[in-house]
């Protein structure tokens, strides 16, 4: 029996054959996946259906077809599940007339969380200095942190974040990623959507790629890349005899193309392992000095480009 890479064994959030359409427009089409402890990145371009999927998971949108559950409970039927799950939405979703402290305290009150945790959450997102200022005067990044603090104050077991790093500067970004990582390390389920590939790559243990409302790929980054055996791997080779190397590489049956850019060769191959064996040998034969051999497309960026192109 084979198990889909979109499904995890210890699932806390389950999405079964879910579709959502708005009139004639299909936003999400027949998606089945699950999420468990750790960080799962939901990756896709703007308009891919990530936010719609997250809103269905939270219960803000009703699936047109299929079912969604958190800890086995349909959130639209039992709001009690929100004592264990929290959402940081993409939109502002803050009360501008409240201070950050009042906003986080409001979230604590609504979830029945202790007031003592308000200061802890504010400190955790490093918002102490601005905690007593109205949110209306906050920058986008500060608002993001206030929303994260309001979600964390309830100590959720499932944290759903829709583009949480939007508007944050690199220092804030690193800080927030650290918080999400620590939550994941302590066994919480963290779902992060983003269209910024580097963000997901830095955060996620596992990736679900959504393209045009469908699940295009799932698994860890390397596994996704290996699953795409029908496209060539791209490798960057740095060598002091580029033209001779290029000519010899093209004579092999594992290289489909070579581009020379100064001392850099961009090589496309169908067999990364075999190329890794051949290149040092060829370099030795032509007495060339090999200084770099790096796969170019092990990043999410290339995976994502491929997925978009393939559809």
């Amino acid at each position: 029996m084979t198990t889909s890479p979109a499904v995890v064994a210890d699932a806390t959030v389950e999405v079964n054959e879910v579709s959502k359409w708005f009139g004639q427009k299909v936003a999400v089409s027949d998606v089945s996946c699950s999420f468990g402890p750790g960080i799962t990145g939901l990756l896709g371009p703007n308009g891919a259906g990530k936010t719609t999927l997250l809103r269905m998971i939270c219960g803000l949108l009703r699936p047109s077809d299929g079912t969604v559950s958190i800890f086995g409970i349909d959130p639209r039927r039992d709001p009690g599940v929100y004592s264990r799950a929290a959402l940081v939405p993409e939109e502002d979703a803050v009360y501008p007339f409240l201070t950050a402290r009042q906003f986080v305290a409001y979230a604590a009150d609504l979830a029945g969380a202790p007031r003592a945790s308000v200061d802890e959450s504010i400190t955790l997102v490093d918002l102490q200095a601005a905690a007593d200022r109205p949110i209306s005067g906050f920058s986008k990044g500060m608002r993001q942190r206030a929303k994260v603090a309001a979600a964390l104050v309830t100590t959720p077991d499932v944290l759903i974040l829709d583009e949480p790093l939007n508007g944050t500067d690199p220092v804030q970004r690193a800080h927030l990623i650290g918080i999400f990582r620590r939550m994941a390390d302590s066994g919480k389920t963290v779902i992060v959507s983003s269209h910024v590939l580097a963000e997901v790559e830095r955060m996620a243990d596992r990736v679900l790629a959504v393209v045009d409302g469908r699940l295009a790929a799932a698994g860890d980054i390397t596994a996704i890349r290996h699953a795409m055996a029908d496209i060539p791997y791209r490798v960057r080779i740095e060598v002091d005899e580029p033209r001779r190397m290029a000519a010899l590489l093209l004579e092999t049956d594992i290289v489909s193309s070579v581009t020379v850019a100064g001392v850099i060769l961009h090589v496309e191959t169908s067999d990364l392992g075999a190329l890794g064996v051949r290149v040092p040998r060829i370099a030795k034969d032509v007495d060339a000095r090999l200084t770099a051999f790096e796969p170019e497309d092990e990043s999410l960026e290339s995976v994502f480009r491929y997925l978009v192109r393939r559809r």
Partner: protein, 249 residues
């Protein structure tokens, strides 16, 4: 319970925040100003008569519906517009309790403004006639009609972003024109719910019957109507929030 009280507290600030309270406060001054200006040199009895000819209809046909419309439609509408509806709804609190708390806050805010307006007009009457007996009945009848208006407009505010426009059409076409032209329709008029309670507590002049339509005075009937409308609206809104999409595409 702490969560529900917090919703009421935050919603009250939301309802009366910013320039809204100033604008509604200015509208609320109109009945008292009209009473003061229109009752100069009148006898006590004539001042009492004048109070029911001008300030009371202005209070119930203009100040009350406008305040209830702005605050009621904003109760859920502001949350939807500001994107905070998801913040509010994704909580371990039953939807009907969230809606009831929102209603209560909106009703409290609107009643506060309109009741102060009514009290000011009654005080103006008292200053002319020495009779301050209308204050209590005005406050009670305002509270009753405001409940019905706020409940209906809160539902409207959730359903459409054009709630204020639709509400104004309802108030000034239906309430102020059609139900006067066809007294048989007076039953379907929200401002008259409170006025029937008022008429049961105050010996109103005979020509006040024109404003009442064909409705019989009665406090408990009015309370029952307002409670029924409120309950229905809260139930309908909570059902919508549970069954339908709570955010748009």
């Amino acid at each position: 319970m702490r969560g529900v009280l917090s919703i009421v507290r935050v919603s009250l600030r939301q309802a009366v925040g910013g320039k809204r309270i100033i604008a509604l406060g200015l509208v609320g001054l109109i009945p008292a100003i009209v009473m003061w200006l229109a009752s100069q040199h009148l006898t006590e009895r004539a001042a009492f008569q004048r109070f029911h000819e001008a300030p009371m209809p202005i209070l119930f046909l203009m100040v009350l519906p406008i305040c209830a419309l702005v605050i009621g439609s904003g109760a859920m509408g502001d949350e939807r517009r500001d994107g905070t509806l998801s913040f509010l709804l994704l909580r371990p609190i039953p939807r009907w309790m969230i809606v009831a708390a929102k209603f209560f806050a909106a009703w409290l805010a609107a009643t506060g403004i309109v009741a102060l307006s009514g009290i000011a007009a009654s005080v103006a009457l008292g200053a002319r006639s020495g009779d301050y007996g209308t204050i209590g009945p005005v406050v009670i009848s305002v509270a009753i009609s405001t409940a019905a208006y706020v409940a209906v407009f809160m539902l409207l505010g959730h359903l459409t972003s054009r709630a204020v426009l639709i509400g104004l059409v309802y108030v000034f076409i239906w309430e102020s024109s059609i139900t006067f032209a066809a007294p048989a329709l007076a039953n379907a008029s929200l401002f008259r719910i409170g006025l029937t309670a008022y008429a049961s507590m105050v010996a109103v002049p005979s020509d006040f019957d024109e404003v009442l339509g064909n409705l019989a005075p009665g406090t408990w009937g009015a309370v029952a109507k307002a409670v029924g409308i409120t309950g229905l609206a809260v139930w309908a809104l909570a059902s919508m929030l549970r069954r339908r999409d709570t955010v748009s595409e």
